[in-house]
């Protein structure tokens, strides 16, 4: 179990090959049922490939994706975390985006075991 970096869309390339956590809005689910398109907190779109069939997820839902950035700048994901509607009703996506960028400025405190 390694540290998953919280990132947004523009950071994907920078974290190629690394374990990441991304919170975003589902824009669509592919007919195959294993792939979804996620809109990130900085309004970019990334492809998320799940190892399992994606369940309990609908377009418009806010989810957290845990996985690794592959060499195509897509996420090979092993866990999708879903939330109750009440939990994401007032979610401040912009604050989350700012936080994600803030963490990169303070590596010593963000990753305490550096």
């Amino acid at each position: 179990m390694t540290h998953h970096y919280r990132i947004n869309g523009s950071m994907i390339q920078q974290f190629s090959g690394k374990p990441v956590s991304i919170i975003g809005t589902v824009s669509k689910i592919h007919p195959s049922g294993n792939v979804l398109d996620l809109e990130t907190s900085d309004q970019q779109h990334i492809v998320v490939r799940s190892s399992d069939h994606i369940v309990d997820v609908n377009p418009g839902n806010i989810i957290e994706v845990l996985g690794e950035v592959d060499n195509r700048n897509q996420i090979a994901c092993d866990t999708i975390v879903t939330f109750e509607p009440e939990q994401t009703a007032n979610f401040d996506m912009d604050m989350y985006n700012q936080a994600v960028m803030l963490f990169q400025h303070y590596p010593q405190d963000y990753l305490v075991n550096l």
């Binding site: 540290h3 975390v81 009440e86 989350y96 963000y110 305490v112 075991n113």
Partner: protein
């Protein structure tokens, strides 16, 4: 005094192992307060017997507030003890033990929860005995928690480096050593300054700290005593 010397020579008195008989044990104040941190911090920490707390870098704690995803759930048959494996993506999973009443529905895997509890170590592994476990009411709490962890680290790190004066400067001297040397450099007489004068000038340190520093610096040859053991100055250059 050895055990057999107590009790006036009529054999020895039983001395309680620690507890009330020991004037030192229990008097050491445990670190109070709740540390908002990541699971990785707890797993990296080592337990200090001397300070009766867990220590990792500049963090000293017993009670923590963490937020993470439940990965595994283990409910005991009688329903009052729940054990969860919590993962906050900081690298590592920690076990949470929660004694609770039967109220409320059981928490399921892949649910985010907030946990406040005491860190305990057993068989070399740290776990948390929780007195509070609750589901996140809003995802905003998760973001806020991550920010708080970074902030706590920053605040404690800065506090640790200024109070102890152990922050090292570029030339290898600590804060207090540098302060003493810089002040002594301003001396215009061959007598230099007395310990009292130095102490008065450097208000942020107490006299004891100043004396210890002077002892160290003169031992290393950076400063030397002049008219008596209480007066010091630096050499003629730098």
């Amino acid at each position: 005094m050895a055990l057999w010397e107590q009790g006036g020579g009529n054999g020895f008195q039983q001395r309680k192992a620690g507890g009330e008989g020991d004037p030192n044990n229990g008097q050491r104040s445990a670190i109070k307060g709740v540390l908002t941190c990541t699971i990785r911090t707890i797993l990296n920490a080592k337990h200090s017997e001397a300070e009766n707390c867990f220590i990792y870098k500049y963090f000293k704690f017993n009670t923590v507030m963490i937020m993470g995803l439940i990965r595994d759930v283990n409910h005991e048959v009688n329903g009052s003890l729940a054990m969860y494996n919590l993962d906050d993506h900081s690298g590592g999973v920690i076990e949470i033990k929660w004694w609770h009443d039967d109220s409320g529905e059981p928490l399921k895997p892949l649910t985010y929860v907030k946990v406040v509890g005491q860190v305990k170590i057993f068989s070399g592994r740290a776990h948390v005995v929780a007195h509070h476990v609750s589901r996140l009411q809003s995802l905003n709490e998760l973001v806020a928690h991550s920010i708080e962890c970074v902030h706590a680290s920053m605040a404690i790190r800065k506090q640790a480096s200024t109070i102890n004066g152990t922050n090292t400067n570029r030339n290898g001297f600590t804060l207090i050593q540098n302060a003493v040397i810089n002040f002594l450099k301003t001396a215009t007489t061959s007598e230099g300054f007395s310990v009292t004068e130095i102490s008065t000038q450097l208000k942020q340190f107490n006299e004891n700290q100043v004396r210890q520093t002077l002892e160290f610096l003169s031992g290393e040859g950076h400063i030397y005593s002049t008219t008596d053991d209480d007066h010091f100055r630096t050499g003629n250059n730098n």
